[in-house]
């Protein structure tokens, strides 16, 4: 059974030929261990530039672990083996300046996590750490980031208010604005809408579709409708393995693997 899966997954990955596209980020033979136990045993994925790729799968399938490994947020928690290729460099190697790398590969978390600072300072935080201190420059970046996250009009008069006073959906969009303020290449989102109501969720989705023009987006989601609504490519994770990776339309209408079919039609998960 285990072997069977592996073969099918190899086959199904072949089904999507990424060589014809521009690749922003790819993993080769990624393994993640928590102590002795292996959370990801096989991760070979390639993410196309300026597209949204979603990672779906049942709880505990390793999709979040995989995502967090991509910008090394698992560094002090788990052991990550294998290669993560970004601009021809293996960013999983020890020679990489992790902090610098995270400027290019940003992340938004499941739970909105603004700092207990003002809206303005939340966005300016990372810029200040980089040494950007000119008021005018900061103002500009704060405005463009908030505009990109589609919340400028709502908060432009309250920039000095505490970010904690915002609603959950606004907080999450602030977190997105904060992440894009440092102008990353790639944006990783770990179930960004799972703690939000349907209206906020659809606003976040609209924002992501907007952002796709300038950013490569990789999103973990529990919500299969969300994956089919917004993503160009979908990877299906199960038991720490990528079982299928294809264009979203294909994977939802014509899954190659039985388990994928079972999952997306709601038979388990």
């Amino acid at each position: 059974m285990q072997n069977d899966n592996m073969e099918t997954s190899q086959r199904s990955i072949m089904h999507f030929d990424p060589k014809a596209h521009e690749i922003a980020l790819s993993t080769e033979d990624l393994h993640v261990f928590y102590g002795q136990s292996e959370a990801i045993s096989e991760g070979d994925l390639q993410f196309e530039r300026y597209k949204i790729s979603s990672l779906i799968g049942p709880s505990g399938s390793g999709k979040s672990t995989f995502l967090r490994s991509l910008n090394r947020m698992n560094d002090r928690i788990a052991t990550v083996k294998g290669k993560i290729m970004y601009r021809g460099l293996d960013i999983n190697s020890n020679d990489i300046d992790v902090y610098e790398m995270r400027r290019h590969i940003g992340m938004v978390f499941q739970r909105p996590n603004p700092f207990a600072k003002s809206i303005y300072e939340n966005i300016a935080f990372a810029l200040r750490q980089r040494g950007t201190n000119k008021k005018q420059e900061l103002d500009e970046i704060v405005e463009t980031s908030l505009r990109q996250a589609a919340m400028w009009d709502q908060v432009k008069d309250d920039l000095n208010k505490s970010a904690l006073a915002l609603s959950g959906g606004q907080q999450q969009r602030l977190c997105i604005a904060r992440a894009i303020a440092v102008k990353p290449d790639i944006l990783l989102l770990d179930e960004p809408a799972s703690a939000l109501d349907p209206v906020s969720t659809s606003q976040i989705e609209d924002t992501l579709l907007e952002l796709k023009q300038n950013y490569t987006i990789i999103i973990v989601t529990h919500n299969m409708q969300q994956a089919s609504r917004i993503s160009d490519y979908t990877a299906f994770f199960n038991m720490g393995k990528v079982l299928e990776y294809a264009e979203t339309g294909d994977i939802f209408t014509n899954p190659k693997v039985d388990i994928t079919n079972d999952y997306i039609s709601g038979n388990f998960g």
Partner: protein, 309 residues
């Protein structure tokens, strides 16, 4: 049917036990409140007697610099000027807090952020052990080690504010450290993640995010340490020299409210001016610890607002 109705109307054993438990815990609470009130009342009645029965001017008590309650001072009034002790208490409290705070925060950061495993395994038990050492031991070490050290390094007799500061620094360090560590631990993990994900370094994360978020908790820790330093009697009395003089420098013998209290209370007759004056000192101590308590609560409440989401 009637059986059920009867059983529903009857007072059950369980509800009786519940009532009894409620009464017991309430009376315990009432007893404690009563004791606190009695202490306040007693200290106040004795302490205020200095001003009402002995007709000492409150201002001359607080600002006078001569302390010798049995005799008459230069101004013709009994010599009950508490200023040297008040100044001594405040100086020693503030200095020891200033010295202890950087060490405590550094240790707490190491314990929680830099090496949590070693922190939990080694440092925390050690700091907790330090809390448990009796103050007379600290005082004795202060007398045998710190006083000669201060004498040979800074001159003077060695007794004084400086020696007291060193001893109190070690005494309050564990309290401030472990409370600061608790404050840092209480900073939600997602703050750290958010900061790291934005490309901030570990140090930037600690300095700009974690420490900032923990400020209310750490202030509470510092004030708590100050309260402890202010109230510490025995160890301070052993190293400060107990001269009721306004401290001229850090190495001249001085005194604190607590040290004069422990020295004098056994040698006075209840109801006499000497005794009442000591009670007045105790009242100042009590009011100060009340003040520290209020500050802690105030900071705590502000801190809670900060973390609400």
């Amino acid at each position: 049917m009637d059986k059920i109705r009867a059983s529903l109307l009857k007072k059950s054993v369980a509800s009786k036990i519940e009532r009894r438990g409620k009464i017991i815990s309430l009376s315990c609470l009432a007893l404690i409140i009563l004791v606190v009130f009695l202490i306040f009342y007693f200290v106040a009645s004795r302490g205020l007697a200095t001003f009402f029965s002995n007709h000492i001017n409150l201002w001359s008590f607080l600002s006078g610099t001569q302390w010798n309650p049995g005799t008459v001072g230069t101004n013709g009034q009994p010599a009950v000027g508490a200023l040297p002790m008040i100044v001594g208490s405040f100086l020693i409290t503030i200095f020891s807090a200033i010295v202890a705070t950087p060490f405590a925060i550094g240790t707490a950061v190491f314990m929680t952020e830099i090496s949590p495993r070693r922190g939990a395994k080694i440092l925390r038990p050690v700091t907790e052990l330090l809390v448990g050492i009796p103050s007379v031991v600290y005082g004795f070490i202060g007398l045998q080690v710190v006083v000669p050290f201060v004498r040979s390094t800074f001159g003077g007799s060695g007794y004084g504010i400086l020696s007291g500061t060193f001893v109190l620094f070690v005494m309050i360090l564990p309290t401030v450290t472990s409370m600061s560590a608790d404050a840092l631990n209480a900073v939600p993990r997602y703050y750290r993640e958010a900061s790291l994900a934005l490309g901030a370094t570990r140090w930037q994360t600690i300095y700009k995010v974690v420490l900032r978020a923990a400020i209310p908790g750490m202030l509470t820790a510092i004030v708590f340490g100050m309260a402890r330093a202010f109230g510490e009697a025995l160890a301070v009395q052993m190293v400060i020299g107990n001269a009721t003089l306004l401290p001229q420098n850090l190495v001249s013998p001085a005194s604190t409210l607590t040290s004069i209290l422990t020295m004098g209370i056994g040698n006075t007759v209840m109801g006499s001016l000497q005794n009442n004056a000591l009670w007045s000192l105790a009242m100042i101590l009590l009011l100060m610890s009340l003040f520290f308590n209020l500050v802690i609560r105030y900071i705590g409440r502000k801190g809670k607002l900060n973390h609400e989401r």
